[in-house]
Symmetry: C2
Subunit: 387 residues, 2 copies
């Protein structure tokens, strides 16, 4: 019954299938800039589009600096590294996230410490977190130590799930009180703001992603935002093999990474960033259209942007009442069969084999959410041209 109603509701908004979950939209200068990039032959590590993309990103987000990298995972890795995360540390991350967040922690030799998520914004609840840290940690020498493992909890990486901003100001306050570095995982939230300020600019650093399924894409790509000029310099240095500038000498003064974004991909990014305001309008309109039909169904609702926040509505997300969660798989099956690509939220990361022994708090909120969330077709192109 409900599954068929969901199919009908989606159909009434997006028409007949097949319809993908999220397809990019190239309606601006994408071809022009990429052709210009090819014609210049500067497709790789040198070229004007990387600089321009970084400047445009900083301008758009209001961050003082943006450093373009090869993807969102690389952005998180380097941000954590420069946050001082090292061998033997723990890093607080939501269990309800894409696996990249946890992987990036392990690349630093550290271990994820999993935190619950709440229904309100699908992210970490500062009040629950504060209570948890009060119980399990103690502050020694201005460091937060896990009393059980004896390890330093160095950082926290809240994520803005599907573009909906987490309670970032509440989390900043917890981070300050417990001496945690806060790195924002803004991979999904380009265009999302909290009280008018762009997500990814609240923490010491913020990580963006421009993967093909994101609001805008560079093919593969990511960026790190920061307001700290020294960090910006170090981020650029570490992501470009730590080479010390010289006309011809090869001096690398630390162990660096080959994480720079190629100019070809940045050319695509420059055009996509120009189109972002229009894409955001279309995505909001798609939410409004879905909202009209789903608000008439019982047992299911559409996730709306939190108060005082603007969401980019990256992925439109249905929330099943807990009483209906046993219908989730049936809904996934019939919608996909009907040609509407839908999918559940990620498997909570603490359940994955490589992370099953990592420290964690009680994760009842995330486990419940993981049974109740369904992403539905979200491409900006689904609403056509809007005024």
């Amino acid at each position: 019954m409900l599954p068929q109603k969901v199919v009908d509701a989606i159909h009434s908004v997006v028409g007949s299938g097949p319809v993908g979950l999220h397809e990019p939209s190239f309606e601006g200068n994408e071809w022009l800039y990429i052709k210009e990039c090819l014609d210049s032959t500067f497709v790789s590590s040198v070229g004007k589009f990387v600089d321009r993309f970084e400047d445009d990103l900083a301008c758009y987000t209001g961050a003082k600096y943006a450093i373009a990298v090869v993807n969102g995972t690389a952005a998180l890795h380097i941000a954590l590294k420069l946050a001082g995360v090292q061998q033997g540390d723990e890093v607080l991350i939501p269990t309800l996230t894409f696996v990249a967040t946890a992987n990036a922690v392990t690349y630093c030799g550290a271990e994820p410490h999993f935190v619950d998520s709440e229904e309100k914004n699908l992210g970490i609840d500062p009040y629950t977190l504060r209570e948890y840290l009060n119980n399990i940690s103690e502050i020694c020498n201005k460091q937060c130590v896990n009393k059980k493992t004896g390890k330093i909890i160095r950082a926290i990486v809240p994520m803005h799930t599907f573009g909906h901003p987490v309670d970032i100001e509440g989390l900043l306050s917890v981070a300050r009180d417990f001496h945690l570095v806060l790195i924002e995982d803004a991979a999904e939230s380009l265009g999302s703001t909290v009280n008018g300020r762009h997500t990814g600019t609240f923490g010491l650093m913020g990580a963006l992603s421009f993967n093909g399924n994101k609001t805008i894409t560079t093919g593969g790509g990511g960026a790190i935002l920061t307001n700290d000029p020294n960090l910006a310099k170090k981020l650029k240095h570490l992501t470009t093999t730590a080479k010390v500038p010289h006309q011809w000498e090869y001096v690398h003064d630390e162990i660096g990474y080959n994480y720079r974004m190629p100019n070809l991909n940045a050319a695509l990014g420059c055009a996509q960033l120009e189109a972002l305001p229009k894409i955001l309008k279309q995505k909001r309109e798609l939410f409004n259209r879905y909202q009209k039909v789903f608000s008439m169904l019982d047992g299911i609702s559409l996730i709306k942007e939190p108060e005082n926040c603007t969401s980019n509505y990256w992925l439109q997300t249905l929330l099943l009442d807990i009483s209906q969660s046993n219908q989730r798989d049936q809904i996934l099956e019939v919608t996909n069969e009907a040609g509407y690509m839908t999918r559940p939220v990620w498997n909570p990361v603490h359940n994955l084999i490589p992370f099953k022994d990592c420290p964690r708090m009680e994760l009842t909120g995330a486990l419940s959410l993981s049974q109740c969330l369904i992403n539905i077709p979200s491409s900006s192109g689904l609403v056509g041209a809007i005024l």
Copy 2:
């Protein structure tokens, strides 16, 4: 005197400057395929060009499998990881290489163990290496143990410098006798062969690079070659976040990496690979033209492909007689001032701060070479259209 003669010789071959060191050539289907990729909207992790690029690479090199990744550093990292390199191991690498080789070793938690290079092919000499390993190592439980450090020497990563094949068969024999996994760093040698067999296909795995300065480019990119079907499967899995295939479930069964090559970059690669035979012809012709003029100069010579080998002549390389090495910097200065981009070989990696305490053999050959080698303009386009 010699510096001006070098300027004149370069001028006589490539005409008036400014001339870069190595610029890519886009004269085939580059724009066509990239346009097709953009038109399809599949610019990222899904799309036909990645599969095609991998098939075309396997076909061209004769490797059974090719896995496209985000760059050559990523290729080396994952190859070393799947070779079993782990925390506390040592890995033999030439000190005369780009820093990426050493960095990739450290990403596995291992330490580079630096090996000398010989003048003949600018790579590791198997005879010297065998003698060295006989002295410093012992075989315990079929593992090569460094008697001084007590650590396992797990692997060796010979490199085909500037496209000139190393004595790979000699090194394979040493690797076999000392129970070392051999990973070929073929980042510079696409198109180079040894007895007709493509470099990168001799070792358990081989790493390629398609950075913008390489013989062909994908903007940023790399690939891993292997003949082992199980390794090929694991390489694909590890480089694509270790996700277990499912229509919608997110299961990742190990700590993976976001190292896949975007479809946009693979589209460029497909066109570049089509052009490779022509580019190789042009680069050989450029060598012949340089050879004519430099063979008339005393105190300096052009590096030629080793016997029984075909070199791709990626970077044309001058070798100063040791008696002339004090003129190296002067040559670099006057050529660059005259608008011809030239540069020395890499600073030997064991001299860089992050690697200064790593184990090493006597490195007299590499140190001497590092004072005597100069790369000169090498773009295929410098010879124009040839018959």
